[in-house]
C-alpha cells in the first residue's frame, strides 16, 4: 500500500478515536450519578466482579508472599497472630477511652438519651483494587443486594478503611481514606478538636484541624467525628505520627499513620446500620 494514503487513513482513525473519547468524557462529566454512563460503570463492575474474585483468590497466596517479601522477610504466622492480638487490645483500649469520654460528655450535657448506636455490618471480600496509580480504591463483593448504599462506611477491627462511592448489585467500590480525593470528618480523641482527615495517595494521611491552634501531640489518636453525615462517629482512623510547621509558620501539617494496613486487607466490614445521614436525606427527598 502506498505510504501517503496509509498515513492519512491512520490519521483519520486516530481522530475518530479521539472524538469518541472526548464525547464520552463530555457526556460523563455532564450527566448525574444516575446517568447512563454511570449505570454502565456499575453494571460492568457486576459483570467483572466474579472473574476478578476468582483471580483475586488464585493470586492471594502470591500476593501474601509478595507483601511479606516487601515488608519483612521474617513475617510469619506468629507475627500475624501478634498483630491481631495487638489490634484487638488497641481497639479495646480505645473503646474504653471512648466510652469514658463519652460518658463524661453525656454527664455534662445530661442527655442520657444519647447512647452509642450499635453498628450492623455486612462482611465483604476484597476482589479488586484501583487499576491505575492515581486512585486508592478497592472493589468488594457486596452490593445493593446485600443492603450496601453509597457513602456507607467501611471498617475492619483495626479502624476505618474508607467509604463506598459506587454500588452495583453484587459489588461496590470503596474509596480508601488514603485516596487523594477522600476527606473524612475527624477529631482528636484526647482533646476533641475537630477537623478533616485527607488522603494523599500515600500510606500517611493528613489531619487538617478546624482550629489552627488546636492542641495536637504526637501519638494522639484520630477518630471519626461523624460530621459530614457519612461515617459514624468514634471509629478510629490512626495515630498522629508527626506535627510539622509550614515554613511560613501560619499553619501545621499533622501527619497521621492509619491503623489499617491496606496492603494486607482481605476482608472488610461495611456499616449498613445506622445508615449515613446523607443517604437518609437523599431518600427522604
Amino acid at each position: 500500500m502506498p505510504a501517503a494514503p496509509r498515513t492519512s487513513r491512520n490519521r483519520i482513525i486516530l481522530i475518530l478515536l479521539i472524538i469518541v473519547c472526548v464525547s464520552v468524557v463530555t457526556l460523563y462529566v455532564r450527566e448525574t450519578d444516575s446517568g447512563p454512563l454511570h449505570k454502565v460503570q456499575n453494571f460492568f463492575l457486576d459483570l467483572v466482579s466474579p472473574v476478578s474474585s476468582v483471580f483475586a483468590k488464585v493470586f492471594r497466596p502470591i500476593k501474601d508472599g509478595f507483601v511479606n517479601l516487601v515488608h519483612l522477610p521474617s513475617l510469619s504466622k506468629e507475627r500475624a497472630d501478634l498483630q491481631r492480638e495487638v489490634a484487638e487490645l488497641r481497639r479495646q483500649r480505645i473503646e474504653s477511652k471512648e466510652i469514658i469520654e463519652e460518658n463524661q460528655e453525656l454527664r455534662k450535657l445530661l442527655d442520657w438519651g444519647e447512647t452509642q448506636a450499635e453498628f450492623e455490618t455486612v462482611g465483604a471480600d476484597i476482589i479488586g483494587q484501583s487499576p491505575d496509580n492515581w486512585q486508592r480504591l478497592m472493589i468488594v463483593n457486596k452490593g445493593s443486594s446485600a443492603g450496601v448504599k453509597k457513602y456507607m462506611a467501611v471498617v475492619t477491627e483495626e479502624g476505618l478503611v474508607g467509604r463506598v462511592i459506587s454500588v452495583g448489585s453484587r459489588s461496590s467500590v470503596v474509596q480508601l481514606v488514603t485516596d487523594s480525593r477522600s476527606g473524612v470528618g475527624a477529631r482528636i480523641q484526647r482533646s476533641r478538636e475537630t477537623g478533616i482527615v485527607e488522603g494523599r495517595n500515600e500510606e500517611i494521611i493528613r489531619f487538617v484541624p478546624m482550629n489552627q491552634d488546636a492542641d495536637i501531640r504526637k501519638g494522639d489518636v484520630i477518630e471519626t467525628s461523624g460530621l459530614g453525615g457519612t461515617v459514624p462517629p468514634g471509629v478510629v482512623i490512626g495515630k498522629v505520627s508527626d506535627v510539622k510547621k509550614r515554613s511560613s509558620g501560619l499553619d501545621r501539617f499533622v501527619e497521621v499513620r492509619p491503623y489499617v494496613s491496606y496492603s494486607k486487607l482481605d476482608k472488610v466490614l461495611i456499616i449498613v446500620t445506622p445508615e449515613p445521614e446523607s443517604v437518609i436525606l437523599k431518600e427522604a427527598q
Binding site: L17, V20, C21, Q129, P131, I139, I165
Partner: protein, 172 residues
C-alpha cells in the same frame, strides 16, 4: 493484520485488563503498580503499527475507565495517544531489539501520566494526586519490567501472514 492476530490481541487486552484490575494492585511497590494496558498498547504499536497500538490503547483504556469510578474516557484518550505515538516513533528506529519497546515504554509512561493529569486539570478536577517525579520514575521502571515479559511473549504469537511478508522482504 490477520484475523487470528486481531482475535489474539483482543484476548490479550481482555487478559491484561483483568490482571490489571485484580492482580497488579497486589504487587504495588512504592505505591505504584505496572500499567499493563499501556505496556500492551505500546508493544502492539511496535509490532503492528500506530493504528493497532491506538485501538488497543483505546479499548484497554476504556475498559479501565468503565471498571473504576473515574471520569470515563480519560484513560482511553491518553492510552490511545500513547499507543499511536509509539507506533509512529518506532518507524524512526529500524530495529527489532527489545531496547526499542523498553525506551518507548519508559518515556511514554511519563507522557501518559502527564497527559492524564493535564486532562483532569482541564476538566476542573480540583483535588489531584500529588505528581512527583519519583512516583513517575518508579511507574516507568515498573512498566519497563513488565515490557521485558510482555514483548517476547507477544512476539512469539506473530501469525504467518506477517512473518511471510517479513521473510519476503528480507529475501528480496
Amino acid at each position: 493484520m490477520s484475523r487470528n492476530r486481531e482475535l489474539f490481541l483482543f484476548v490479550v487486552v481482555a487478559l491484561a485488563f483483568v490482571l490489571q484490575l485484580s492482580v497488579m494492585p497486589q504487587f504495588k511497590l512504592l505505591g505504584v503498580q505496572p500499567d499493563l494496558i499501556l505496556v500492551v498498547a505500546i508493544v502492539v504499536a511496535v509490532q503492528d503499527g500506530p493504528v493497532a497500538g491506538a485501538v488497543v490503547g483505546f479499548v484497554g483504556g476504556m475498559l479501565q475507565d468503565i471498571a473504576s469510578p473515574q471520569v470515563m474516557g480519560v484513560s482511553a484518550l491518553t492510552k490511545t495517544l500513547a499507543g499511536f505515538m509509539a507506533g509512529v516513533l518506532k518507524d524512526f528506529f529500524m530495529t527489532y531489539s527489545i531496547l526499542l519497546p523498553v525506551l518507548l515504554v519508559f518515556f511514554l509512561t511519563f507522557f501518559e501520566i502527564l497527559l492524564h493529569q493535564g486532562v483532569m486539570v482541564v476538566l476542573g478536577e480540583d483535588v489531584l494526586p500529588p505528581l512527583r517525579a519519583g512516583v513517575m520514575f518508579a511507574a516507568a521502571l515498573y512498566n519497563v519490567l513488565a515490557v521485558l515479559v510482555i514483548y517476547p511473549l507477544l512476539r512469539r504469537f506473530r501469525f504467518p501472514e506477517k512473518e511471510d511478508s517479513l521473510l519476503v522482504t528480507r529475501r528480496a
